[in-house]
């Protein structure tokens, strides 16, 4: 398992994302509701870039005309065909067991801890006063 520093936490505003290339793949890191999530930046349907997805609420309904919202901003509607994926676990809405996007564990570490290593040297110079998003592949 490799640990990659992909951004300072302040680089990705809430509701935003950043795409990084890790080990030959594009990975998209989202910031939602105070947490960071990392997914392969490719929809399993037809390869659309998930960083262009709409970030929306998790929408359920017990009956026609009633709209229940939760976890606002943590569901992705793919930029092309609108397939819904949960940022947290990569599961599709319509077939959570069999249709998923690969996710990567994310940890946040402060610069001081990080300076002690180990991590894959990206282009980041680590400053002890900042917090960093680490994606584990």
């Amino acid at each position: 398992m490799a640990r990659h520093i992909v951004a300072r936490t302040s680089d990705i505003p809430p509701g935003g994302n950043k795409v990084v290339a890790l080990e030959g793949r594009d990975v998209v890191v989202f910031h939602a509701n105070g947490e960071f999530f990392a997914l392969l930046n490719r929809c399993p349907h037809s390869g659309a870039p998930l960083d262009q997805a709409a970030c929306v609420a998790r929408l359920t309904s017990p009956e026609p005309g009633v709209y229940q919202r939760s976890r606002v901003g943590e569901l992705l509607r793919c930029a092309w065909h609108g397939w819904e994926f949960d940022m947290r676990n990569g599961q599709s809405w319509f077939d959570p067991k069999r249709v998923k996007v690969r996710t990567y564990p994310v940890v946040i570490e402060d610069g001081e801890t990080l300076a002690k290593g180990p991590y894959v040297a990206e282009t980041f110079a680590v400053h002890v006063e900042d917090n960093y998003v680490i994606v584990e592949t």
Partner: protein, 370 residues
Amino acid sequence: MSDVIDRPLLDQEASAKTRLRIIDCDVHPSLHAKSDLNPFLAKRWQEHLKTYGDHLRTPYMGTTPYPRSSPLIARRDAWPPTGGPPGSDLDFMRKQYLDPHDVEFGVLQVLDMFIFSQQNLECGAAIQRAVNEWQLAHWTSRDPRLKASILVGQDDTAAAVAEIERCAKVGQYVQINVSPRANEPLGRRRYWPIYARAEELGLPIGIHTGGYGGHPPAGGGWPSYYAEEHQSNAHTMAATLTSLVLEGVPEQFPDLKIVFIEGGFGWISSTMWRMDQHFEHFRSEVPHLKRRPSEYVREHFWFTTQPIDEPDEARHLRSLIEWVGVDRLLFSSDYPHWDFDDPRFAFKTPLSEAERIKIFQTNARAVYKL
């Protein structure tokens, strides 16, 4: 649906023996703004569009009463960084779509301005001319890969034929387009002068999904949801196909080619079976038909592939292709719309090399004389 965690997408191109340049039979350029047409419009009509605007059989000026699931029906990543709506920037279209997918030819379908459905027929005639000129000035003259279509408001047949004549003299157009949601089903005789001219000129008729004919999407009434209305596009295509066949359009115009665009192809085989099943029962009503309906379909009609059907089992898609016939299919992407088919991944069943070449190349070459 097979397990798709990191499953390599069935990339037809990567597995192909040769890299294939593709012909895309449905690409949508769009206006930056309606005023883009002003250079091609008389002052009278510029004023008219600024004040009265469109007059269509729909309640709203600015939108459809069935809101789409994404802005401007488009892929969210297709908005050009320089501004303007998806499909309005040729450079971005090249960069995002035409170049990376090695598009040899893209046949343009302009949906802006709803030419086919303008209630004010004089206005419609002015707009259609402007759009037909705009295609050449802004698109096909700047990128020879792109091919223009003569768009005509079918319900003013005289004006439509006049516009066809004008464009035919200019040359550079590969088909004549009408809408399947017209005042009447497209097989009806009032539209025959358009078909006659198309046949004489050797240009195919293109029929693209959509339009505001004013009829509800279903015989049973108006649906509540876009989910229903979106699927009704296939229904419109089936009704249009039966009208053209039963009225005897291919019988009357044996050299005419007709292309159905953005209807997909899942509905075709059952429609042919149904037409044939009931042919004997209703034969006395249509004595002008000399052949079984499905025979007319197999000789005179082509169908663009998008939106492709996605059965759970890939082999079912194979059956669908074989029932329609590989010869009838023309690849289309529908770029930049949301339900776009990526040429690399759209066919989730393997195609033989010969089939790929037909669907992505030679069928379209023959129909559009490319």
